[in-house]
């Protein structure tokens, strides 16, 4: 019969070593806990929202507009104040221009919003009543122009739209009158970032 000698010191040290390696293995083991499982792993639009959205996905959505990351973030935002705080911070740090929520005196829908060095105007389409023109004008465009508009309404959602600015600092696009982005832009309590 074979045997392995044991010393008391080795056992004591082994207890620590075992404990930390066991815990490290638990932390890095394959995730087989249903409650922790991220079910979204492809572009299936029917994917379930993940239980947790990481910082990389948040960055990918805000900075590069990655659509899959966007679905994950948008699905996870409601009821997740930590994620919302992180989103807000990332937007504040990445956006060169901001159109903050309006003063408390504002009431009802707004069709023009003025930020520092920029303005946003909503104008109904004459040709198609279901559509609205959104025009953004930068007063002193310099350096890197924004590539996206991010609207963060008070309901905990987020809307994103890619932008393409002219050399004079103007960007224009059309939204559906009843769409979530238009509704968000009308809401005086929506924070708008140009990142």
């Amino acid at each position: 019969m074979t045997w392995i000698p044991l010393s008391g010191g080795a056992l004591a040290l082994a207890e620590i070593l075992y404990a930390v390696t066991e815990a490290a293995d638990v932390l890095t083991a394959a995730n087989d806990d249903d409650a922790l499982t991220d079910t979204g792993d492809d572009d299936d639009t029917d994917e379930q929202p993940p239980a947790w959205v990481g910082m990389q996905a948040l960055y990918d959505y805000v900075i590069t507009g990655d659509p899959r990351a966007g679905r994950q973030v948008r699905a996870a935002l409601p009821g997740n104040p930590r994620l919302r705080a992180d989103l807000t911070r990332l937007l504040e740090r990445s956006a060169a221009w901001m159109l903050p929520r309006m003063a408390a005196a504002s009431s009802g829908a707004i069709e023009r919003r003025q930020g520092r060095d920029c303005a946003l105007v909503l104008r109904p389409s004459r040709a198609e009543s279901a559509q609205v023109y959104v025009t953004i004008a930068l007063e002193r465009p310099d350096g890197d122009l924004p590539t996206a508009l991010m609207a963060v309404p008070r309901d905990g959602t987020v809307e994103r739209r890619d932008l393409r600015f002219d050399r004079d600092g103007t960007a224009q696009f059309i939204v559906d009158r009843d769409g979530p982005l238009h509704q968000a832009l009308l809401d005086p309590f929506t924070d708008i970032y140009l990142a």
Binding site: P5, L17, Y18, V20, A24, V26, T28
Partner: protein
């Protein structure tokens, strides 16, 4: 992972596990951002709270990123905008960055931060683990909270003290986060129950022995306690496999003498990991890796896993029943190597216990269960070892068959397989003189290339490759013809054989080694089996017949 016990419920807690899973699942450029090794490294440091030095490095890395010339997202661009968490990606990111050379320098291997009277270098190789730690911190504390802490190092004029203050602030915040989530390792009751059993078995003396009797005795003493997780001999073997790995790693650590005095209350057996020196832990980890690495017989991964995966799985190198037979060799390799009798017991009586468990689940009668327990075994230890030796021989035959496939296909891998099968074979006929005599590597490579071409041009022709090599390949051809299974015929997939052939050499070698060890450990195999059968049957009766409906 070999022999892992079930994790203690709630330790580490679910939120912390989620943090690590989120970071581990993060993707960049369509692939997992951080490697398993990187994640394991960070997890270990977090669990044993030896992340302090890393946080200082991380604070410096944030500073380095902030010197990358970005007006916005001053440091985030490096951690989340530079692609996969690999050294080359970080190197490329710094290469693209516009750096102020007054404050930071870069070269092919590192960046060097310049502070008044001080400098700090961070290699690109170090950055993946720091990037993963940043991601763990951001998931645990929140990006906004981490941002608040690290912003001071992003300002224009920063001295080294500021970086240290930021690192300390990160450490405090992370410590607060972890304090309720990482219980003391002393709560690892499963492991402690093993060590306590061993200590008691050696009359509480400082030293003792870990042997097959300890494994079996522990199972008999604990199998009736459903809450302990040791009901099956299978689980006990897995636990002891881990114990052996851990004890051997601990035994290699030079600082062993002080190990048992590290705790806050050593007399009570309390061990406080916070007081455990990080450098000792690093030695432990290195030793653990070494022990586990030794247990792994193939640097490309366990042979059975390679054989079961593409491209090797295009060939039926092993049947399912052969795979199951090899379980005794490859499952929990440390146990198989050090306590082969326990591995054999597990292979035979552990399998019987699994059938009994299934019988209980289907509400089999007591008579049916008793028939399983007392039924005539199909084979004993000697029979099982004989079967393994036959399989080792067949594995060798199939490896030789692969050699013929590769040689006929003109694949370079044929030469490596030839040398694996016949390590001492004389290659002189392939190049006319002994290349080992030459110290010039260029000459050596050129000659080796010519020898390979010569070998592949006519591998069975003795006038080209010499009589010995030709005989080996001819024998391989004969063995190939005798293998009657998919993948060895005329259209044999060469890439599958290139992957699988060397693993079959390993299977043959590892199996023979196990059988040799087992025969040495159990010289009286017949008597041992009879005694074990009676002892296991007695315990099985107490586990599975008490209270069962006749």
């Amino acid at each position: 992972m070999n022999g892992k016990m079930s994790p203690q419920a709630g330790w580490p807690d679910a939120a912390l596990r989620q943090v690590f899973h989120t970071v581990a699942d993060a993707t960049a450029n369509g692939r997992r951002k951080f490697s398993d090794d990187t994640m394991r490294d960070v997890a270990r440091r977090v669990v044993c709270r030896s992340y302090g030095p890393m946080l200082l490095e991380l604070a410096h890395l944030v500073r380095a990123a902030a010197l990358g010339g970005r007006r916005r997202l001053t440091y985030e661009w490096l951690f989340w905008g530079s692609g996969p968490g690999v050294p080359s990606a970080y190197a490329a990111a710094f290469t693209r960055a516009t750096l102020s050379t007054q404050l930071i320098e870069r070269d092919v291997s590192e960046v060097r931060l310049k502070y008044p009277g001080h400098a700090f270098a961070i290699s690109y190789g170090r950055m993946p683990v720091l990037g993963a730690l940043m991601e763990v911190l951001s998931e645990a504390l929140g990006y906004a909270a981490v941002n608040d802490i690290v912003i001071p190092v992003c300002h224009a004029n920063v001295d080294a003290d500021t970086v240290v203050e930021v690192a300390n602030a990160l450490s405090r915040a992370f410590y607060d986060y972890l304090k309720d989530r990482l219980a003391a390792p002393t709560e690892q009751s499963q492991f402690r129950s093993l060590t306590a059993f061993l200590a008691a078995r050696s009359d509480n003396s400082a030293d003792g022995l870990l042997d097959d009797d300890a494994v079996f005795g522990f199972w008999r003493a604990n199998c009736h306690d459903d809450s302990a997780g040791f009901r099956t001999f299978d689980n006990v073997c897995a636990a002891f496999n881990r114990l052996i790995e851990t004890v051997e790693a601990a035994g290699r650590v030079t600082a062993l003498e002080g190990a048992h005095t590290l705790g806050g209350d050593a007399e009570a057996g309390e061990i406080d990991p916070d007081r455990f020196k990080a450098e000792v832990m690093e030695e432990c980890f290195a030793a653990m890796d070494d022990v586990r690495g030794r247990a792994s017989t193939d640097e490309d991964g366990p042979p059975l896993a390679v054989l079961a995966a593409p491209p090797a799985d295009a060939v039926k190198f092993l049947t399912d029943s052969e795979m199951r037979l090899l379980d005794v060799v490859y499952r929990d390799t440390t146990l198989a190597e050090r306590l082969p009798l326990s591995a054999l017991r597990r292979a035979m009586f552990g399998a019987l216990q699994r059938r009994l468990t299934a019988a209980v689940k289907r509400a089999a009668t007591a008579d049916e269960r008793a028939a399983l327990i007392d039924g005539e075994p199909g084979e004993d230890y000697a029979g099982r070892l004989d079967a393994l030796m036959r399989l080792a021989g067949q594995a060798g035959d199939r490896a030789r068959a692969s050699l013929h496939v590769l040689a006929m296909a003109g694949m370079d891998e044929a030469m490596a397989l030839l040398l694996a099968l016949a390590p001492d074979i004389d290659l002189t006929p392939l190049h006319g003189h002994n290349v080992a005599d030459s110290d010039d590597s260029t000459v050596h490579d050129g000659v080796a290339e010519a020898a390979l071409a010569r070998f592949l041009s006519a591998p069975q022709d003795p006038t080209v490759v010499g009589a010995v090599i030709a005989a080996v390949v001819t024998d391989a051809h004969r063995r190939r013809r005798s293998v009657r299974r998919d993948g060895f015929g005329e259209n044999a997939p060469a890439d599958a054989h290139a992957a699988g052939g060397p693993r079959m050499v390993a299977v043959a070698r590892d199996t023979e080694t196990f059988v040799r060890r087992a025969k040495s450990a159990v010289p009286d195999a017949a008597a041992r089996f009879a005694a074990d059968r009676a002892a296991f049957a007695e315990t099985f009766r107490s586990l599975y017949l008490a209270g069962a409906t006749p």
